[in-house]
Symmetry: C2
Subunit: 123 residues, 2 copies
DNA sequence: CCTAGTGTCCCATTTAACTATTACACTATA
DNA sequence: TATAGTGTAATAGTTAAATGGGACACTAGG
């Protein structure tokens, strides 16, 4: 897997798993691939995978069963909450960034709108 | 200055200076504070400041005059181009991220609209 | 009971970012 | 010409991320 060298790999693995948990590839209660397999898939060391999973277990988005595997939480409320939280963080980051470039609220909205439109044409 | 420990400090300094260059605090041709002063202001080592400036000089957004100081480029076309580039990168990142969470184009737009509205109330 | 498949932990090593410190090079000006 | 203010470079030390390799613990199934 490709990584951005400006962000720790373990952190990008968390983001990657969040995506899979929130777009249907990994549903509530689903079992994750074994850590050793994940390490191979992501072309990364097992310890690095473990660090990402460890944090997600602490956060309550994953559960671990020694000898059996790692699983997505069955708490769908928790998952919905996670999605909200991640979406909000992303929106806030973009808003702050563009606002710092002196774009007004209206300009921020229209620039996103135009970006999406142009993107549709480009594809 | 506060830094996000998930991103290299020198990189955050670049972002910080881009903001100042694109929101009027540092206009075309303006002289930057001395590197030693910047280091103090940002509570960071001179070498770290130098690394950020070095990259910006290579990129052509800053120029350096030994013995005199560092200056914002006078090439306003270059600055406009920089702004476009940074805004686009930010929009692309947000779009990709939210799209990976299974939001449709319409949902992405309305979620940003709602975020901005709620934000206005909260303030 | 044994074995294969899991998660977990530990240790040593490497690498990159950052810091601290010192020295050098150029410019302007008194 | 001397000095203060500037950028630039070099070196050494610290820290955190990531790697590599090994060992241990638990579970399921033959």
């Amino acid at each position: 897997m490709k990584f951005d060298d400006k962000v720790p790999i373990y952190y990008q693995i968390k983001t990657h798993l969040y995506h899979e948990m929130l777009n249907g590839q990994l549903t509530a209660g689903a079992q994750l691939p074994p850590v050793r397999q994940l390490a191979v898939d992501l072309t990364v060391n097992v310890n690095t995978v473990q660090r990402a999973l460890g944090e997600m277990i602490t956060e309550g988005t994953l559960t671990s069963q020694r000898g059996k595997g790692n699983f997505v939480t069955t708490d769908t409320t928790r998952l919905a909450q996670l999605k909200d939280q991640l979406v909000m963080a992303q929106l806030a980051q973009t808003y702050d960034q563009l606002h710092a470039f002196n774009l007004t609220d209206a300009e921020i909205l229209t620039s996103l709108k135009q970006y999406i439109e142009k993107r549709g044409i480009a594809q």
